[in-house]
């Protein structure tokens, strides 16, 4: 299952890891300084997308295609989390 990664693909994998990690730090900045609660909920969406990207890059780096199941689970769970947060926002306003 181990693939023979060439130099260009190795560079692409390292570049992708770099970009996604910078994106995670940017999301952390917005999570800490976001003025309202919906800003932080939006960051959750961004972090989920970045996690999917990190998992895909890890698959390409190691050859373990089993981790695509994790990407499927994250893509499903984030939708549930967004729906729950939207309901929570409305409920909190009504009280």
């Amino acid at each position: 299952m181990e693939i023979q990664t060439s130099a260009v693909l190795t560079f692409a994998i390292y570049f992708s890891f770099f970009c996604l990690t910078i994106g995670l730090f940017m999301g952390m900045y917005r999570l800490l300084t976001g003025p309202s609660l919906p800003d932080r909920i939006v960051v959750m969406d961004l972090v989920a997308s970045l996690s999917i990207g990190l998992i895909i890059t890890y698959i390409l780096a190691t050859g373990q295609t089993v981790f695509l199941n994790v990407a499927v689970a994250i893509a499903l769970l984030v939708f549930m989390g967004n729906v729950a947060f939207a309901k929570f926002l409305i409920r909190r306003m009504e009280k």
């Binding site: 693909l9 919906p38 990407a71 009504e94």
Partner: protein, 116 residues
């Protein structure tokens, strides 16, 4: 040749995700940040899944990549719509530069209205 295509797809996908993160930091408003995340991050995930599907020529990888793409395409607009509606209903302040707001004063109702 195939690895060149996969590397281009991977680099462009990660750049789109980086653009989404930059939009989250730079833009001035909840609604603008949602606009940055939903489109750019979804496109980045789809491009990177294309890179995986090119490298690994197996049907189980293709099916799972297709499942992720379909979930992202179908759930990201719905989730963002619900968050935006809830944020507008709870009175999240808008940034500068808004010309008009057709939902102004219209979003009063019960909590189930956000599901519609």
């Amino acid at each position: 040749m195939i690895e060149w295509i996969a590397a281009i797809l991977l680099i462009s996908g990660s750049l789109f995700m980086l653009i989404a993160a930059i939009g989250v930091v730079r833009l001035s408003d909840v609604y603008m940040r949602m606009h940055a995340i939903t489109k750019a991050a979804s496109l980045g995930a789809i491009l990177m899944l294309g890179a995986v599907s090119i490298i690994y020529v197996e049907w189980i990888v293709w099916i799972e990549a297709l499942m992720v793409v379909l979930f992202v395409i179908f759930t990201a607009p719905i989730a963002t719509h619900m968050i935006a509606k809830a944020a507008h209903k709870t009175g999240t302040p808008k940034g500068p530069g808004y010309v008009m707001d057709e939902m102004e004063g219209k979003d009063v109702g019960d909590s189930d209205a956000v599901m519609q």
